[in-house]
């Protein structure tokens, strides 16, 4: 394994302790629950609580987006595994300001089971918790409800958080999140596996020089596996799925996220974005804002994805809303 760790059974706790130490001006761990990262400013008076979460191993996803102008809390599970119900519940108790809370996470059966129990527990305390599942991974299912959430998490979280900051009530925040999710599509390509610190091995097998289009961020199998092709050809294949999915036409505007799964260099993301931009230009689709980097990783997995978010004036305002979260600062 090409990683330095201590006890793999302590890695999530150690990561969280290191994280909140590093960014102690913005975040803290709940005193009574070390799996809940909370914004120092939460609960914010009269604001809907925005709670994100999921398995760890996708950093900066979840914890990195807790902070002013972004999520109020992140609930952190074991590696690639949804958090358990208790911290889901505790996060609500920690950030609810009387306006209810929204759970936002990728659509995985395990996450749904655990967060749902958390929401039931909160309901017993009279706190309303709504859930919006992110389902941006277009390749993972033909019916939208069945799709996984991957890098699009970032856009959906960002939009919902900004709506909450703007003072929308829970229904308004839910509506904003659903709209972002409906306007968001992602497709990725894997070039290898992440190394799991517990087994010390790669999580699945893939020869160097091969690629798998449409693979999930936990290594869930995708559409097809084959030899790698030129970057431009792969980007084109991805865009040929995303563009019709969002029914993009001339005059539309999008935000673009070119995401690394961990071990893909920024250099390659910039090369990929060059082609994305070229295709959008040809279509007459405008780009409102571009995000390039590792926004949702799978530890050290080589691979990348392209996410498009079709935007209107509201979504643009939400995306542009300033934030000072440790892993997404925006002026």
């Amino acid at each position: 394994m090409r990683r330095l760790i201590n006890d793999p059974y302590e890695i999530v706790e150690e990561m969280l302790q290191g994280y909140v130490k590093a960014f102690n001006k913005q975040v803290k761990l709940l005193e009574h629950d070390g799996r809940v990262v909370v914004s120092k400013n939460a609960p914010k008076k009269d604001k809907v609580g925005v709670i994100v979460g999921g398995g760890s191993g996708h950093e900066p996803l979840f914890l990195g987006y807790v902070g002013d102008g972004f999520a109020d809390a992140a609930v952190i599970g074991n590696i690639n595994t949804s958090p358990s119900p208790e911290p889901c519940y505790n996060s609500v108790k920690a950030v609810d300001a009387g306006k209810g809370c929204i759970y936002l996470y990728g659509n995985y059966a395990g996450d749904v089971m655990n967060f749902d129990i958390g929401a039931e527990m909160a309901a017993e305390d009279g706190i309303r918790v709504e859930t919006v599942l992110v389902t941006d991974d277009v390749i993972s299912s033909t019916d939208v409800e069945g799709r996984r959430g991957i890098a699009g998490d970032f856009f959906v979280f960002k939009v919902a958080a900004a709506a909450a900051e703007e003072g929308h009530d829970l229904d308004g925040v839910v509506a904003a999140a659903k709209k972002a999710n409906a306007n968001c599509a992602t497709m990725g390509v894997a070039l290898g596996a992440a190394e799991h610190p517990t087994t010390g091995k790669e999580m699945f097998e893939m020869d160097s020089g091969d690629m798998e289009i449409g693979m999930g961020i936990h290594g869930e199998p995708g559409v097809r596996r084959g030899k790698t092709e030129p970057a431009d050809a792969v980007v084109k294949e991805i865009m040929d799925v995303l563009v019709p999915e969002l029914k993009l036409v001339k005059g539309d505007e999008v935000c673009v996220l070119v995401n690394s799964l961990g071990a893909t260099p920024l250099m390659d993301l910039f090369v990929a974005y060059r082609k994305v931009a070229e295709i959008l230009e040809e279509l007459g689709v405008g780009v409102h804002k571009t995000f390039i980097g590792s926004y949702a990783s799978t530890m050290n997995m080589p691979g990348s994805s392209v996410t498009l978010l079709k935007v209107d004036a509201d979504l643009k305002r939400f995306i542009d809303y300033p934030t000072n979260a440790p892993y997404f600062v925006q002026i």
Partner: protein
């Protein structure tokens, strides 16, 4: 009929200890089963959960069967996460609940405990037989056990027969397309792969059986 097969704290504690050992021993194998059709962590999830169970087990010496398995279940629920956490966690909580706060149960009562457990899994996971989940092992096993108890078959023989049913159920997942869990998105690509949850369930049932043999020998 089953008055003489009394299973007490000692039996169930050995089962718990052995499940924890199994989770360690089979960790990488179960993770590997989870890799082609899931996210490669099932064995790791169980090992994380049962390590915590092992750590706390000494504190639970004075619990009755209901409160013991409630703690086992709560620990799994709290530590594991994912699908296995709520499913196995819930299973053991309900499994214990059916012991009605007793210190020991008879073999027919054990069957009812399994019944109560699998019902929780089915209601929480909304899976039925042939969805390619742990239900494929646990539901046929439980039905067979209830029938065997009804037919007053001798405990070891009954359990052995039911294990064969469980094994068949486990293996029945191989050719299936998944209807629940992560493997759903694979469609036809799930065909040919054993479901990891059905494999771990079968291992757990085996542990109940092995200790039953020791108990009744």
């Amino acid at each position: 009929m089953y008055e003489n097969t009394v299973l007490g704290k000692a039996y169930f504690t050995r089962v718990i200890v052995d499940m924890a050992a199994m989770a360690e021993r089979e960790r990488d194998y179960l993770a590997q089963l989870d890799s082609p059709i899931g996210d490669g962590d099932h064995g790791i999830n169980l090992s994380i959960g049962f390590r915590e169970v092992t750590k706390k087990l000494p504190e639970w010496e004075n619990e009755n069967l209901t409160s013991l398995f409630k703690k086992v279940g709560m620990t799994l629920l709290g530590k594991v996460g994912g699908a296995a956490g709520p499913l196995y966690g819930g299973f053991f909580m309900k499994f214990g609940e059916a012991a009605n706060n007793k210190e020991e149960v008879t073999f027919d009562e054990l069957a009812l405990m399994f019944k109560s457990g699998i019902e929780l899994i089915e209601s929480r996971g909304k899976a039925v037989i042939a969805d390619k989940t742990m239900v494929d092992t646990l539901r046929p096993f439980t039905d067979a056990l209830l029938a065997a108890v009804e037919a007053e078959i001798e405990p070891l023989t009954a359990f052995e027969q039911c294990l064969q049913v469980a094994e068949k159920g486990r293996d029945s997942t191989i050719p299936l397309i998944a209807k629940k869990g992560r493997a759903v998105r694979l469609g036809e690509r799930a065909i040919g792969h054993l479901d990891p949850g059905s494999a771990s369930s079968y291992m757990i049932l085996n542990i109940f059986y092995d200790n039953l043999k020791k108990e009744l020998a």
